[in-house]
Amino acid sequence: MPKIYEVEPVTRLEGHGGLILKVSDDGKKVLDAQFNVTTTRFFEKFVEGRFMEHVPRITPRICGICPIPHHIAPTKAVEDAWNVKIPPAAFKVRELLLQAKQYSSHLLHFYALAAPDFIYGPFADPAKRNVVSILKDLPAEGKMALEMMEYGQALCAAIGGKSVHPIVSIPGGLKNPFSEEHRDFFLKDWERQVEYTKKTVEIALKVVTDYWDVVANVGVVPTWYLGVAKEDGTHDIHDGMLSICNPEGKIKRYKPQKYLEVIGEHVTSHNYGTHTFIKEVGYPEGVYQTGPLGMINVAERMNTPLADAALKEMRDKIGTNPIHNVFAFHWARIIETVAAIENIGNLLKDPDIVSTDIKTMDVEPIAGRGVGMVEAPRGTLIYDLTSDEKGICRKANLLVATNHNLGGIDKLVTHVAKQIIEQDALKSIKLPDPWVK
């Protein structure tokens, strides 16, 4: 009789997930491991019948941690459906908004969701493993982390109107310009944020060094990867090509509108979330991962100097391309954080950023279908919206980070469970002394 272990709920996660592990009756063999999404809310159905321009005001509720990409991606889909071109300044302000979210979300992920495991060690008392403990035990780093997250969130609010669930993006551009007063305020604090980011890189590198045995040997599972990058391979979270990378590192890029040629959606009976897969390989061989590691693996380079140097350092150290080490996700996330603060600086210094020419009046609803794609902090978002001639949304297909990641997570969890249960990896893995005991 196999034994079934359940983790309910999976914590430090934005959403509902459970983990199920099936082990043979003698406890020596892993039969299966699944990460299951235990609920869904049917956004694809209830955006039908809504005004197209209001879809971007509804879908941010898919994820309260990354509402901004869920605000911009549908706006781009509406613009694609209606053939709308936006002014260059609007493009830049949207990019600043996305980078601000990327910055705050990646830092929240690193400091509040992931760091408790590294700071206290994975076997510390669960009651200790959380952000509140870190704030108390490492007050200097904790304060810095709070100030960084606050900077990103405040910048999101200054542009988006609200930090959670923004309201600024409309077909044709933006409802409001970014004010000079705000620009000056965020520019003034920018250099300090760069210093903080450098400090964060040091912390992350210490984590990598301390946990090198884990990074190098736990959960090293070849999969496909999916992300967004410019046609020439430059990392781009805002407006790139749908890019996939096979386990050997061969990259292909497609226009987002071609996503149906690239991705299929698979349903399992144990999960409300559907698993996407690479169509040319099929399911389950074509499961993939997205998010920071996916982005790094489909990119040739970062678009800013510090981040690009950090990417080279990572590739040199790990020694493979693509990188299949699941614990390198955190490292990739920090590289993207560096890119975010550098891009924020470049955009704040661009005179166009306070332009009032942020909206075209040349917007007319037409019957049509459009695709909008951006990269959210935890993966690629693809919005496929169909408008009728009155501008009402008639059909929607949304592929979000969770869909892309589920198949890859199942594969990883199974692999790690085998490492621990069948190969007794916990005995051989070298773990550092916790920073805080």
Binding site: R12, G49, L135, E150, G161, K175, M361
Partner: protein
């Protein structure tokens, strides 16, 4: 003073409510001084068994965010009610059903058929759907929570003591909650049961835009159609649909400050039973009051046509607890 044992439980939610709490930034230390968290899946590692292991009534403050969408949401709400002395519905979803309750609209097509069969990226020749019970060859069972027929507000399934609306509740409101907790911790006194921790009046009172003595409008415009909006004048006469007149204050008027019409995430004001109906009746009475009699049927029709989605416009956050949703639901049952 012992800390208040606090549990945060999630229903059908986006976790934006959790982010709103973390957006307190340095003030989070004040929360930590006041509260000992015993359950908070988004931020902490306690499991359901940890919550179940507590005595009934041992939790001082139970906060629930998200709608009731699945059997698990319902069970967790019931567990929280049992364990907590005080239950707070936090955010628009827990207060009114929120955006997830747009699920409850009277659709012809089943939700499962769409998302597990008919979306264009689907590759599901066997017609697999998520199952509540999966029987394994070994005889074991795996389960998924049951998807309930509708998404609803927290008080449709348990008794709720306090309400904090908003999508998500804004930091000033959360600070108000912190003040309430402080007072409770120091003096043991709480506001009257049923209190909505938000403003009393309408959003209009908070918005600060100048309102003409008699608001009227002659047409409505989409956000992409409006060129210049006067930042000091009421949005409705400028042709922007704004739920302000029917909506509770307390959010800081963040949307109208951005020249964007309110969609009512704070829910209705006291005594209003149906948020959307209240707004529709307000708008009808404001329709070009001076010239209505002189308006042709065609002109009227034109204005009405500009609102082809009344449910998504007037019930965006409150459909799940609206009178009209009950009518729809009764009809379906028949």
């Amino acid at each position: 003073m012992a800390k208040l044992k606090t549990a945060i439980v999630l229903g059908a939610t986006c976790a934006g409510c959790d982010v709103a709490i973390l957006d307190l930034n340095e003030k989070i230390f004040e929360v930590d001084d006041l509260c000992e968290f015993v359950f908070w899946p988004t931020a902490m590692d306690f499991k359901i068994d940890d919550l179940l292991a507590l005595e009934d009534g041992e939790v001082d403050i139970g906060i629930y965010h998200g709608a009731i969408r699945t059997s698990e949401d319902l069970e967790m709400a019931e567990i929280l009610r049992k364990k907590a002395k005080v239950v707070v519905a936090f955010g628009a979803c827990a207060n009114f059903g929120g955006i997830p309750s747009l699920d409850n609209l009277p659709y012809d097509q089943s939700l499962f058929d769409l998302v597990y069969e008919q979306v264009p990226s689907m590759d599901n020749p066997q017609g697999t759907v998520p199952l509540e019970i999966i029987e394994l060859k070994s005889g074991d069972e795996l389960t998924l929570p049951k998807m309930l027929k509708d998404a609803g507000a927290l008080n449709s399934v348990i008794d709720v003591d306090y309400y904090v609306p908003g999508c998500p509740p804004m930091v000033p409101l959360i600070e108000k909650v912190v003040d309430v907790l402080k007072k409770f911790s120091e003096t043991g006194t709480l506001p009257p049961k049923g209190t909505v921790i938000a403003g009393e009046g309408t959003l209009c009172e908070e918005c600060g835009r100048e309102k003409p003595e008699q608001i009227s409008y002659h047409a409505f415009f989409s956000p992409q159609e409006t060129k210049k909006i006067d930042p000091d004048k009421c949005l409705i006469p400028q042709g922007i649909i704004c739920m302000g007149p029917a909506t509770r204050s307390g959010c800081g008027a963040l949307c109208t400050k951005m020249n964007v019409g309110c969609r009512g995430c704070m829910g209705p004001t006291v005594k209003v039973k149906d948020h959307g109906l209240k707004m529709i009746s307000a708008l009808t009475s404001l329709l070009e009051v001076d010239t209505e009699e002189g308006m042709t049927e065609e002109q009227l029709e034109k204005i009405v046509q500009r609102i082809p989605d009344p449910l998504g416009t007037f019930y965006r956050f409150t459909y799940g607890s609206s009178l009209i949703s009950k009518l729809h639901s009764d009809k379906e049952d028949k």
